[in-house]
Amino acid sequence: MEIQHLVKMANQIGDFFAPYPDRGEVIRSIATHLRNAWEPRMRRQIIEYVNRSGGPDLKPAVRDAVLTLEVRSAQSGDAPGDD
């Protein structure tokens, strides 16, 4: 998927949680939302983006939230025939 599209979506999530005063809570909320709503390949892409480039287009809290993510399943990356 286009990384800029994912970045925009992630930043939108960050915008929603931004008014909360506790930065730790903001980061946890963003991460929880990404974990609950984003399919693993989307999460993997944005994690790779942050790991690769530092995530310059992500808002700081979003970038920090992405850094807390891990992808438990590798569904979209299944090897052919792995069903």
Binding site: M1, Q12, A37, E39, R72, S73, P80
Partner: protein, 941 residues
């Protein structure tokens, strides 16, 4: 004419708990105070002759046929207008009454054609029945005098005729239009013998304000107002109760049948959502079900450029299964997905998500609610604990203040709008927040106290400003907040909402609503008594759709407007089963009952029932599927009942994604736009051809009953089951009731639902379980489903979709009464006489600046694409805002909408698109209208 199977009690029921005892024809009866003698008699099984009375309408007392005698009283009062009193002794049959009634009938018949044997109402005519009941044997006045027998027939309406020669001027049609529908299109013109029913200013029906709801036709006791289908086919011989296939009101209908042929659809008096009322779509626009365009054989092809070839069911199912297996073998499990429609039954959507999760091992399943009400699910679950509206429809009759936000009920949910209008005529106050001046703002006997013409994209700023007013002016219901809501969240929210940037004065200019109107509306909502919010896609289809749902929840909690009749926060769902399709685990992250796929306890219950291991990770949502198709990681799609090529935003993007797929299976009743990119077409069944259930906007689960065999041979659930079997995952259901039993076993909020119960009680509203065996009309009574209500911070974040020099206008979209969604059904009915093209509404200032005249062809361009359509100059929209519908594929409205979406759910931002509108050069025939098959090559982005 009423349904052939309805009993008419003559006058409406009364709700009083005080019972009155009396005697009628020597038989004792006890009825609620306020009941008419006519109704009391009917409850005893005593039929008092009547013509102007019907239990759908208030008593009128004009026909003088229902006269009775009361012991100790002089005269012969009308039983319809005389209420019961304790100890009354009533006689309904005496020699004197018989004489009076016969004389009355004699007068009626002296001005009525004697063509009973060839009359279309023959066999279901109240006038005919009454002539028989009173023993009319002669008409002493003859027929040579002045009469109305040569009055011309009005055939202008495509669905019913108006034959004044048969009219007895009982005014049932006029009263139905007023009391039931609330349109006031009919009147009685003239006086005495010269009285005639007059649509509008004594013109034809089609030139009047009539909205063709059919209430007048249903009320008419003669053949004066008669369905053309009955005139053509004759009276039905049996009827079957089922549920409408159109909007989220979910009206109950009686399908009146001759064998397997529908003669007419009559709204069910016992139907809880509609109480015997209907709209033009459900009542009349059902002919699409047998339209010649129906695809009745499975079709297959190797490439989308190839022609279709008819195939057997066995071959088509085998090809579909082989295609999905091949793709998964090559690209992995996550390369396939499924999409269902909110027009599918609960059982169908449940089966498709089961097919995806259990048979194909992926959570890539979504439903079209993604692109309409997914923010409702997120917002209401977060605030209250469950993803649904809080009230039943009848609750509106207890409301004192009704706030309609981003919804147009008279067009989109017309039967509920009629109930709402009745309450407004009784004195409830109305607030409308909408960029357009919708009909509700001002219509007969209704005027909104406040119309807040919020600029598209400004909803959250508006609701925050209202909440700011409530808090800063001391209008919070402190007791409710203290007892019912999370204290820490409330304190946080309170500190947020009082900040100056949330004040009406700070946002007024941004959103185009005067600050004093925002404050006044907020005061009315907070202090006007029971206040209720109804909202539609004008709330959800924004980049802050979920935020707005949360904002409305905040406002309702702060003012204590939750947890009882007359209040609440209520989505008006666009399609018949939006609520149900969401309930059924159709979202990629949730199993039935809105339980997250990552919950190991919930997942374990499904794994035990289904005999598989489920993926704990959420799957792709519809827009994500398109993106993944274009990046090459998503390759195959099963689409049931949804035309994503036409209905989803940025059609160019969608079509490029469809073209990028290796394998597409479409299951539909028509060759829709999406099917043009499919490799297997599985012909589905209409709502008349299958069994199942729909769940409407008020969480009401109603039966859909098969009134005719499936034209293509299979009900849709059978097709999905066959596909699953071919994939090697057995689905051995013999009837949808077994699917519902499985849903009930797995879903706490459905634990008490069964076909047996639905057959017995008619319908139930979930939660339906041991705690509420007959369902739950009003939710969150006493406490919220989540325990304490949760306030959420709802910062206004302007959408990225902003106007500028290149795209200076904001386009918003919606629908009209007579068409439905992308028009697949309604365009194949006579409804096209009212709306045969999408028009662009544009304010005259914007039109004049561009040299656009009414009816001119214009181009509408956004950063996503360009379309052409004709202009309609109006002041319904404010300067700077344009509006159109998306009912016609030739328009391709969604070519210009963008893939901007809600932050929480990816619900597209259909309601805000920055556009430029320019006139096409004079005389130029529009040639660039979108043709999804030919116009767009891949690589849209």
């Amino acid at each position: 004419m009423q349904s052939i199977s309805d009993k008419d009690f003559g006058t409406p029921p009364q709700a009083s708990s005080r019972m009155v005892e009396l005697e009628i024809d020597g038989k004792p009866v006890s009825v609620p105070a306020g009941t008419s003698i006519m109704r009391a008699a009917a409850m005893l099984g005593v039929g008092v002759p009547k013509l102007c009375a019907t239990d759908a309408l208030a008593a009128y007392g004009s026909c003088r046929l229902c006269l009775i005698e009361i012991e100790g009283r002089k005269g012969y009062p009308a039983s319809c207008t005389t209420p019961v009193e304790p100890g009354m002794k009533v006689s309904t049959q005496t020699p004197r009454l018989a004489d009076l009634r016969r004389n009355v009938m004699e007068l009626y018949i002296s001005d009525h054609p004697l063509d009973c044997l060839t009359c279309p109402a023959n066999g279901n005519c109240e006038l005919q029945d009454m002539a028989g009941v009173v023993g009319l044997r002669q008409v002493r006045y003859g027929y040579g005098g002045a009469n109305h027998l040569d009055s011309p027939r009005d055939e202008s309406n495509p669905y019913f005729t108006f034959d004044p020669s048969k009219c007895i001027v009982c005014a049932r049609c006029v009263r139905a239009c007023e009391e039931v529908q609330g349109t006031f299109a009919l009147t009685i013109d003239g006086r005495g013998f010269g009285s005639v029913i007059s649509p509008g200013q004594n013109g034809p029906f089609m030139e009047s304000e009539c909205v063709s709801c059919g209430a007048c036709v249903q009320a008419c006791p003669t053949a004066t107002l008669m369905e053309k289908s009955v005139i053509e086919k004759g009276q039905a011989e049996h009827s079957i109760v089922t549920t409408c296939g159109y909007c989220g009101v979910g009206c109950s209908f009686k399908a009146e049948m001759k064998g397997n042929e529908v003669v007419r659809m009559v709204p069910n008096k016992d139907g809880m959502p509609n109480h015997g009322h209907s709209c033009v779509k459900g009542r009349f626009a059902w002919g699409y079900a047998t339209h010649p365009d129906r695809i009745l054989k499975p079709l297959v092809r190797d490439h989308i450029e190839d022609s279709w070839r008819e195939a057997s069911w066995e071959e088509a199912i085998a090809r579909a299964a082989a295609g999905f297996k091949r793709v998964q073998q090559k690209y992995g499990r996550g390369a396939v997905g499924g999409i269902t429609s909110s027009r599918c039954t609960n059982e169908e959507t449940y089966l498709v998500q089961k097919l995806m999760r259990a048979a194909l091992g992926t959570n890539n399943v979504d439903t079209c609610a993604r692109v309409c009400h997914s923010p409702t699910g997120y917002g209401l679950k977060t605030a209250f604990g469950t993803s649904a509206g809080t009230q039943d429809f009848d609750s509106v009759l207890k409301a004192d203040v009704i706030m309609v936000i981003g919804a147009n009920p008279t067009e989109g949910h017309p039967v509920f709008a009629s109930i709402m209008k009745r309450r407004l005529r009784q004195g409830a106050q109305l607030i409308v927040a909408d960029p357009r001046r919708i009909d509700l703002v001002k219509s007969p006997h209704i005027a909104a106290a406040y119309h807040l013409p919020v600029r598209p994209g400004g909803n959250v700023a508006l609701i925050n400003a209202m909440a700011h007013t409530v808090v800063t002016e001391g209008l919070v219901n402190d007791d409710f907040v203290r007892e019912r809501c999370e204290a820490a969240d409330y304190e946080l929210w309170k500190n947020f909402i009082v900040q100056p940037h949330n004040s009406p004065e700070a946002v007024a200019e941004i959103i185009g609503v005067p600050a004093h109107d925002i404050r006044a509306a907020a005061r009315l909502y907070a202090c006007g008594g029971n206040a209720v919010i109804y909202y539609g896609l004008g709330v959800t289809e924004h980049s802050q759709g979920s935020t707005m749902v949360l904002g409305m929840a905040n406002l309702a909690m702060a003012t204590g407007n939750l947890g009882r009749e007359g209040v609440g926060v209520n989505p008006l769902r666009g399609q018949n089963n939006v609520q149900g399709s969401c309930d059924m685990g159709s979202f990629p992250h949730e199993l039935t009952g809105y339980r997250h796929i990552s919950d190991p306890t919930v997942r374990a219950s499904f794994e035990t029932e289904w005999g598989v291991t489920l993926d704990p990770e959420p799957g792709l949502r519809i827009p994500n599927m398109f993106d993944a198709a274009l990046d090459g990681s998503f390759k195959a799609l099963y689409v049931e009942g949804e035309d994503i090529a036409q209905s989803d935003p940025n059609s160019t993007h969608v079509i490029a994604a469809l073209r990028a797929l290796e394998f597409v299976v479409v299951q539909d009743i028509f060759m829709n736009e999406t099917a043009k990119y499919a490799h297997v077409f599985l012909p589905g069944s209409s709502f008349l051809e299958k069994n199942g259930t729909f769940t409407n906007s008020e969480r009401r689960i109603s039966m859909v009953r098969k009134v005719m065999p499936p034209m293509a041979g299979k009900e849709d659930w059978e097709i999905t089951a066959a596909l699953s079997n071919a994939l090697g995952y057995p689905m051995e259901y013999t009837h949808p009731r077994e699917i519902m039993d499985e849903i009930a076993r797995l879903t706490p909020s459905f634990a008490g639902v069964s076909y047996e119960k639905l057959e017995r009680v008619g319908s139930v509203q979930w939660p339906c379980n041991d705690a509420a065996p007959l369902g739950t009309p009003v939710m969150h009574v006493g406490q919220f489903v989540r325990g304490k209500g949760k306030f959420t911070l709802t910062e206004f974040v302007p959408t990225d979709e902003r106007t500028g020099p290149r795209y200076p206008l904001l386009l918003t979209t919606g629908r009209v009464l007579t068409q439905y969604n992308v028009g697949t059904q309604t365009r194949r009915t006579a409804n096209v006489v009212w709306h045969n093209e999408d028009r662009l509404e544009i304010h005259r200032h914007d039109a004049e600046q561009r040299g656009i005249r009414d009816g001119d062809w214009v181009s509408v361009s956004s950063r996503a694409g360009s379309i052409t359509l004709r202009a309609l100059i109006t002041d319904r929209v404010a300067p700077g805002v344009v509006y159109t519908t998306f009912h016609h594929p030739e328009t391709g409205t969604n070519v210009v909408t963008t893939e901007n979406s809600d932050w929480a759910t990816n619900c597209p931002e259909y309601k805000v698109t920055a556009v430029q509108v320019m006139p096409l050069p004079a005389g130029r025939v529009p040639r660039e209208r979108v043709d999804p098959v030919r116009a767009h090559a891949p690589a849209a982005k």
